[in-house]
Protein backbone atom coordinates (compact mmCIF):
# COMPACT_ATOMS: atom_id res chain seq x y z
CA UNK A 1 0.00 0.00 0.00
CA UNK A 2 2.75 2.44 0.92
CA UNK A 3 4.47 1.47 -2.28
CA UNK A 4 1.37 2.63 -4.11
CA UNK A 5 1.44 6.05 -2.47
CA UNK A 6 5.17 6.28 -2.91
CA UNK A 7 4.92 5.65 -6.66
CA UNK A 8 8.47 4.31 -6.75
CA UNK A 9 9.81 7.59 -5.45
CA UNK A 10 7.97 9.73 -7.97
CA UNK A 11 5.11 10.56 -5.64
CA UNK A 12 5.86 14.26 -5.63
CA UNK A 13 5.29 14.37 -9.37
CA UNK A 14 2.62 11.75 -9.98
CA UNK A 15 0.07 12.75 -7.37
CA UNK A 16 0.05 16.49 -8.10
CA UNK A 17 -0.38 15.65 -11.78
CA UNK A 18 -3.43 13.55 -11.03
CA UNK A 19 -4.71 16.22 -8.67
CA UNK A 20 -4.42 18.97 -11.30
CA UNK A 21 -6.16 16.91 -13.97
CA UNK A 22 -8.98 15.75 -11.70
CA UNK A 23 -9.36 19.35 -10.55
CA UNK A 24 -9.72 20.37 -14.22
CA UNK A 25 -12.44 17.76 -14.64
CA UNK A 26 -14.26 18.85 -11.49
CA UNK A 27 -13.93 22.52 -12.40
CA UNK A 28 -15.41 21.94 -15.82
CA UNK A 29 -18.42 20.20 -14.32
CA UNK A 30 -19.05 22.95 -11.77
CA UNK A 31 -18.37 25.74 -14.25
CA UNK A 32 -20.65 24.32 -16.93
CA UNK A 33 -23.55 23.73 -14.59
CA UNK A 34 -23.21 27.20 -13.17
CA UNK A 35 -23.10 28.73 -16.63
CA UNK A 36 -26.29 26.91 -17.57
CA UNK A 37 -28.03 27.98 -14.37
CA UNK A 38 -26.98 31.57 -15.00
CA UNK A 39 -28.31 31.50 -18.56
CA UNK A 40 -31.61 30.10 -17.39
CA UNK A 41 -31.86 32.79 -14.71
CA UNK A 42 -31.11 35.52 -17.25
CA UNK A 43 -33.66 34.13 -19.68
CA UNK A 44 -36.26 34.00 -16.93
CA UNK A 45 -35.53 37.59 -15.96
CA UNK A 46 -35.64 38.75 -19.56
CA UNK A 47 -39.02 37.12 -20.07
CA UNK A 48 -40.33 38.56 -16.80
CA UNK A 49 -39.25 42.07 -17.82
CA UNK A 50 -40.90 41.67 -21.18
CA UNK A 51 -44.04 40.46 -19.42
CA UNK A 52 -44.06 43.55 -17.19
CA UNK A 53 -43.63 45.90 -20.14
CA UNK A 54 -46.88 44.66 -21.59
Amino acid sequence: MTQFFDMGGYAAFVWPSYAVTLAAIALNIVWARRALARSREEARRRLAMRGEER
Binding site: F13, A35, R38
Partner: protein, 245 residues
Amino acid sequence: MTWTWFHRLASPPYVYTLAARLTPWFAWPAALLIIGGLWGGLVMAPPDYQQGDGFRIIYVHAPSAWMSLMVYTTMASAAAVGLIWRIKVAHAVAASCAPIGASFTFAALVTGALWGQPMWGTYWQWDPRLTSELILLFLYLGYMGLRAGLEDTQRADRASAVLAVVGVVNVPIIHYSVTWWNSLHQAPSVMRLAKPTMALSMLVPLLMMLLGFTLFFAAILLVRLRGEVLSRERAASWIREIVNA
Protein backbone atom coordinates in the same frame (compact mmCIF):
# COMPACT_ATOMS: atom_id res chain seq x y z
CA MET B 1 -32.66 9.82 -47.52
CA THR B 2 -34.08 12.89 -45.90
CA TRP B 3 -31.71 15.43 -44.41
CA THR B 4 -34.27 16.83 -42.01
CA TRP B 5 -32.48 15.42 -39.01
CA PHE B 6 -29.37 17.31 -40.06
CA HIS B 7 -31.10 20.59 -40.74
CA ARG B 8 -32.82 20.40 -37.40
CA LEU B 9 -29.43 20.74 -35.75
CA ALA B 10 -29.51 24.40 -36.70
CA SER B 11 -32.69 24.96 -34.74
CA PRO B 12 -32.01 26.28 -31.23
CA PRO B 13 -35.02 24.74 -29.46
CA TYR B 14 -34.34 21.36 -31.01
CA VAL B 15 -30.68 21.51 -30.06
CA TYR B 16 -31.56 22.56 -26.51
CA THR B 17 -33.84 19.61 -25.87
CA LEU B 18 -31.56 17.20 -27.73
CA ALA B 19 -28.57 18.32 -25.67
CA ALA B 20 -30.50 17.84 -22.45
CA ARG B 21 -31.47 14.33 -23.44
CA LEU B 22 -28.04 13.28 -24.73
CA THR B 23 -25.95 14.53 -21.82
CA PRO B 24 -26.37 11.51 -19.53
CA TRP B 25 -25.53 9.18 -22.44
CA PHE B 26 -22.11 10.79 -22.59
CA ALA B 27 -21.62 11.61 -18.94
CA TRP B 28 -22.07 8.16 -17.42
CA PRO B 29 -19.91 6.21 -19.90
CA ALA B 30 -17.30 8.93 -19.48
CA ALA B 31 -17.32 8.51 -15.71
CA LEU B 32 -17.02 4.71 -16.02
CA LEU B 33 -14.19 4.91 -18.54
CA ILE B 34 -12.26 7.47 -16.55
CA ILE B 35 -12.60 5.58 -13.29
CA GLY B 36 -11.70 2.35 -15.05
CA GLY B 37 -8.76 4.01 -16.74
CA LEU B 38 -7.53 5.44 -13.44
CA TRP B 39 -7.71 2.01 -11.86
CA GLY B 40 -6.00 0.39 -14.82
CA GLY B 41 -3.32 3.03 -15.00
CA LEU B 42 -2.52 3.41 -11.33
CA VAL B 43 -2.98 -0.14 -10.12
CA MET B 44 -3.12 -2.69 -12.91
CA ALA B 45 -0.44 -1.49 -15.29
CA PRO B 46 3.06 -2.68 -14.44
CA PRO B 47 5.83 -0.15 -13.77
CA ASP B 48 7.86 0.92 -16.75
CA TYR B 49 11.35 -0.58 -16.92
CA GLN B 50 12.89 2.83 -17.60
CA GLN B 51 10.69 5.30 -15.75
CA GLY B 52 9.31 3.13 -12.96
CA ASP B 53 6.05 4.38 -11.55
CA GLY B 54 6.70 7.87 -12.84
CA PHE B 55 5.39 6.97 -16.26
CA ARG B 56 1.88 6.77 -14.81
CA ILE B 57 1.59 10.52 -15.37
CA ILE B 58 0.91 9.60 -18.98
CA TYR B 59 -2.59 8.57 -17.96
CA VAL B 60 -3.46 12.18 -17.18
CA HIS B 61 -0.98 14.03 -19.36
CA ALA B 62 -1.73 12.39 -22.71
CA PRO B 63 -5.54 12.67 -22.40
CA SER B 64 -5.21 16.33 -21.36
CA ALA B 65 -2.98 17.08 -24.34
CA TRP B 66 -5.33 15.19 -26.63
CA MET B 67 -8.22 17.24 -25.26
CA SER B 68 -6.39 20.52 -25.84
CA LEU B 69 -5.98 19.72 -29.53
CA MET B 70 -9.28 17.98 -30.14
CA VAL B 71 -11.31 20.70 -28.47
CA TYR B 72 -9.55 23.43 -30.46
CA THR B 73 -10.19 21.58 -33.71
CA THR B 74 -13.86 21.20 -32.78
CA MET B 75 -14.02 24.87 -31.85
CA ALA B 76 -12.41 25.97 -35.11
CA SER B 77 -14.63 23.68 -37.19
CA ALA B 78 -17.78 24.93 -35.49
CA ALA B 79 -16.55 28.51 -35.90
CA ALA B 80 -15.94 27.93 -39.60
CA VAL B 81 -19.41 26.44 -40.04
CA GLY B 82 -20.90 29.42 -38.23
CA LEU B 83 -18.97 31.88 -40.37
CA ILE B 84 -19.68 30.25 -43.71
CA TRP B 85 -23.30 29.23 -43.28
CA ARG B 86 -24.18 31.81 -40.61
CA ILE B 87 -25.63 29.26 -38.20
CA LYS B 88 -26.03 30.62 -34.68
CA VAL B 89 -25.94 27.19 -33.08
CA ALA B 90 -22.50 26.58 -34.58
CA HIS B 91 -21.22 29.75 -32.93
CA ALA B 92 -22.77 28.59 -29.67
CA VAL B 93 -20.84 25.30 -29.97
CA ALA B 94 -17.58 27.17 -30.55
CA ALA B 95 -18.18 29.42 -27.55
CA SER B 96 -18.88 26.38 -25.36
CA CYS B 97 -15.64 24.68 -26.37
CA ALA B 98 -13.22 27.41 -25.35
CA PRO B 99 -13.22 27.19 -21.53
CA ILE B 100 -13.02 23.38 -21.69
CA GLY B 101 -10.06 23.48 -24.04
CA ALA B 102 -8.24 26.16 -22.07
CA SER B 103 -8.51 24.26 -18.79
CA PHE B 104 -7.17 21.03 -20.29
CA THR B 105 -4.37 22.83 -22.11
CA PHE B 106 -3.34 24.23 -18.75
CA ALA B 107 -3.54 20.74 -17.24
CA ALA B 108 -1.45 19.34 -20.08
CA LEU B 109 1.24 21.97 -19.56
CA VAL B 110 1.34 21.46 -15.78
CA THR B 111 1.33 17.66 -15.90
CA GLY B 112 3.94 17.80 -18.65
CA ALA B 113 6.15 20.00 -16.49
CA LEU B 114 5.72 17.64 -13.54
CA TRP B 115 6.67 14.73 -15.77
CA GLY B 116 9.55 16.58 -17.33
CA GLN B 117 11.35 17.34 -14.10
CA PRO B 118 12.11 13.73 -13.05
CA MET B 119 12.55 12.47 -16.62
CA TRP B 120 14.43 15.24 -18.42
CA GLY B 121 15.71 17.15 -15.41
CA THR B 122 13.80 20.32 -16.20
CA TYR B 123 10.28 21.61 -15.66
CA TRP B 124 10.32 23.59 -18.86
CA GLN B 125 12.17 23.79 -22.14
CA TRP B 126 11.55 26.14 -25.05
CA ASP B 127 11.32 23.30 -27.52
CA PRO B 128 8.79 23.30 -30.40
CA ARG B 129 6.10 21.13 -28.84
CA LEU B 130 6.02 22.82 -25.44
CA THR B 131 6.23 26.28 -26.98
CA SER B 132 3.42 25.63 -29.45
CA GLU B 133 1.26 24.10 -26.70
CA LEU B 134 1.79 27.29 -24.70
CA ILE B 135 0.80 29.26 -27.79
CA LEU B 136 -2.37 27.17 -27.88
CA LEU B 137 -3.21 28.23 -24.33
CA PHE B 138 -2.77 31.87 -25.32
CA LEU B 139 -4.98 31.31 -28.34
CA TYR B 140 -7.75 29.98 -26.12
CA LEU B 141 -7.34 32.89 -23.71
CA GLY B 142 -7.29 35.36 -26.60
CA TYR B 143 -10.45 33.79 -27.98
CA MET B 144 -12.23 34.09 -24.64
CA GLY B 145 -10.85 37.60 -24.12
CA LEU B 146 -12.06 38.74 -27.53
CA ARG B 147 -15.53 37.37 -26.84
CA ALA B 148 -15.62 39.09 -23.49
CA GLY B 149 -14.47 42.39 -24.98
CA LEU B 150 -17.16 42.60 -27.62
CA GLU B 151 -20.62 43.54 -26.43
CA ASP B 152 -22.62 42.61 -29.50
CA THR B 153 -23.06 38.83 -29.52
CA GLN B 154 -23.16 38.55 -33.28
CA ARG B 155 -19.95 40.51 -33.74
CA ALA B 156 -18.32 38.56 -30.90
CA ASP B 157 -19.35 35.29 -32.57
CA ARG B 158 -17.99 36.22 -35.96
CA ALA B 159 -14.81 37.97 -34.81
CA SER B 160 -13.82 35.15 -32.48
CA ALA B 161 -14.63 32.68 -35.25
CA VAL B 162 -12.06 34.38 -37.49
CA LEU B 163 -9.54 34.15 -34.67
CA ALA B 164 -10.28 30.47 -34.09
CA VAL B 165 -9.87 29.64 -37.77
CA VAL B 166 -6.63 31.64 -38.08
CA GLY B 167 -5.21 29.88 -35.03
CA VAL B 168 -6.01 26.36 -36.20
CA VAL B 169 -2.70 26.32 -38.07
CA ASN B 170 -1.11 25.78 -34.65
CA VAL B 171 -2.74 22.37 -34.18
CA PRO B 172 -0.79 20.42 -36.82
CA ILE B 173 2.33 22.26 -35.70
CA ILE B 174 1.87 20.93 -32.18
CA HIS B 175 1.18 17.40 -33.35
CA TYR B 176 3.98 17.15 -35.90
CA SER B 177 6.53 19.26 -34.02
CA VAL B 178 8.15 16.15 -32.57
CA THR B 179 8.67 14.61 -36.00
CA TRP B 180 9.65 17.79 -37.81
CA TRP B 181 12.20 19.02 -35.28
CA ASN B 182 14.66 17.56 -32.79
CA SER B 183 12.44 17.97 -29.79
CA LEU B 184 12.97 17.04 -26.16
CA HIS B 185 9.49 15.59 -26.18
CA GLN B 186 9.23 11.99 -27.38
CA ALA B 187 7.82 11.05 -30.76
CA PRO B 188 4.20 9.89 -30.96
CA SER B 189 3.77 6.31 -29.80
CA VAL B 190 -0.01 6.08 -29.89
CA MET B 191 -1.32 8.69 -32.27
CA ARG B 192 0.31 7.32 -35.36
CA LEU B 193 -0.84 5.36 -38.35
CA ALA B 194 1.44 2.41 -37.63
CA LYS B 195 0.83 0.09 -34.72
CA PRO B 196 1.32 1.70 -31.31
CA THR B 197 4.59 0.77 -29.67
CA MET B 198 3.26 0.38 -26.13
CA ALA B 199 2.60 -2.84 -24.21
CA LEU B 200 -1.07 -3.83 -24.06
CA SER B 201 -1.42 -3.70 -20.28
CA MET B 202 -0.21 -0.11 -20.39
CA LEU B 203 -2.07 0.77 -23.58
CA VAL B 204 -5.57 -0.27 -22.62
CA PRO B 205 -5.96 2.08 -19.63
CA LEU B 206 -4.57 4.88 -21.79
CA LEU B 207 -7.14 4.25 -24.48
CA MET B 208 -9.84 4.10 -21.84
CA MET B 209 -8.76 7.48 -20.51
CA LEU B 210 -8.57 8.99 -23.99
CA LEU B 211 -12.06 7.80 -24.84
CA GLY B 212 -13.38 8.72 -21.40
CA PHE B 213 -12.04 12.26 -21.66
CA THR B 214 -13.53 12.62 -25.13
CA LEU B 215 -16.97 11.56 -23.92
CA PHE B 216 -16.53 13.88 -20.94
CA PHE B 217 -15.87 16.74 -23.34
CA ALA B 218 -19.06 15.88 -25.22
CA ALA B 219 -21.08 15.87 -22.00
CA ILE B 220 -19.70 19.21 -20.76
CA LEU B 221 -20.09 20.70 -24.23
CA LEU B 222 -23.75 19.74 -24.26
CA VAL B 223 -24.35 21.35 -20.87
CA ARG B 224 -22.61 24.58 -21.89
CA LEU B 225 -24.29 24.52 -25.29
CA ARG B 226 -27.69 24.72 -23.67
CA GLY B 227 -26.68 27.85 -21.80
CA GLU B 228 -25.14 29.43 -24.89
CA VAL B 229 -28.19 28.67 -27.02
CA LEU B 230 -30.46 30.17 -24.38
CA SER B 231 -28.47 33.38 -24.16
CA ARG B 232 -28.65 33.84 -27.93
CA GLU B 233 -32.40 33.62 -28.08
CA ARG B 234 -33.94 36.89 -27.06
CA ALA B 235 -37.64 36.37 -26.47
CA ALA B 236 -38.51 33.29 -28.42
CA SER B 237 -41.63 31.56 -27.19
CA TRP B 238 -39.95 28.22 -26.69
CA ILE B 239 -37.88 29.74 -23.92
CA ARG B 240 -41.02 30.35 -21.92
CA GLU B 241 -41.67 26.64 -21.61
CA ILE B 242 -38.07 25.80 -20.82
CA VAL B 243 -37.65 28.42 -18.17
CA ASN B 244 -40.91 27.83 -16.42
CA ALA B 245 -40.42 24.07 -16.38
